[in-house]
Symmetry: C2
Subunit: 186 residues, 2 copies
């Protein structure tokens, strides 16, 4: 099994004008990305926001499917949402992983932009075979703040399809990236 | 460029109990799948429902982003949603493609179940290189009705990750399948 953790962060991200903001939690991000995380054997899916009311909202959505009537109605949904941990900051995510793994994870940020130091999918897939924990970070809104991107161990290449249009939703991008890193098919 | 069309159908699909139903249109299905379709050069994304009020709802969502204030606010979203055609039935989709391409498309259905006659991703990717139009059909709710699946030219292998959990959202599954069929990376 892969030794991979995923985080979706709502701060620090940028808005359309490039200002650093805290974005709102989106219900279907929790559902879609937790289902993809469960499919690909991700160890935990961290939903990161410093806003207490947004943490409460996220916890309420999760509880509906893990403890509430949703848990009996749709057990597959429960299994997915159980992988979620709601947490204050990426620094806290790193601490949490460290407490589980007894070592720092390598941090990998995703972006729709290409950077000179970007790592490709096959290279990261190979690197992950060393068994060391890796943390894959997705941003919401218009993407992760530059200052945050520059501090990561790796910046993953953007997803390019058959065109120069690259405006996938974070839900879709997370699924495709997990498939490229962990999928197996022919 | 690939000669591929995508359809998301709301009938005939099954509910949790296996009954054939017409499902409701989901806003984020239109956004996420049109953005993935645009990314991978899909020619049109058909949203299929026989219900007139659901067609009106889908058209209203699309118009907000293609003609309304959304079009100036977010031009990338407009480009994606412009690929959508709202239509009554898969039969009408096939007729529409035939009128454009002067030949019937090969129909490919997607499913979370494995069938004896399933086609793999590499095989379909190679087959599509013949330039003939292909129509990739996704179901909503608990998936496409069996009667519908059995009439298709091909049934695509289910997406399996690193686990036996296979409950991706249709939004995520559409993105991963387009990437497997048309993506290019290393």
């Amino acid at each position: 099994m892969p030794n991979l953790y995923v985080a979706l962060t709502h701060y620090p991200v940028v808005n359309k004008s490039g200002d650093i903001i805290t974005s709102a939690v989106t219900n279907l991000d929790l559902h879609d990305i937790s289902r993809a995380a469960k499919t690909y054997g991700v160890k935990s899916f961290y939903v990161v926001t410093p806003l207490k009311d947004q943490q409460v909202l996220a916890q309420r959505i999760i509880a509906h499917w893990t403890d509430g009537s949703g848990a009996t109605y749709n057990p597959a949904r429960r299994q997915a949402l159980e992988t979620i941990k709601v947490i204050d900051s990426i620094a806290d995510v790193v601490e949490d992983i460290k407490s589980i793994e007894n070592q720092d994870p390598k941090t990998v940020v995703t972006s729709a932009s290409r950077y000179p130091a970007s790592i490709g999918y096959d290279d990261l897939r190979n690197e992950m075979k060393n068994g060391r924990p890796h943390l894959l970070v997705f941003g919401t809104a218009w993407g992760l703040a530059e200052s945050f991107v520059s501090e990561a161990d790796y910046i993953l290449e953007p997803i390019m399809g058959s065109t120069d249009y690259n405006h996938l939703s974070v839900r879709t991008a997370a699924g495709i990236i997990l498939d490229r890193l962990l999928g197996d098919y022919n």
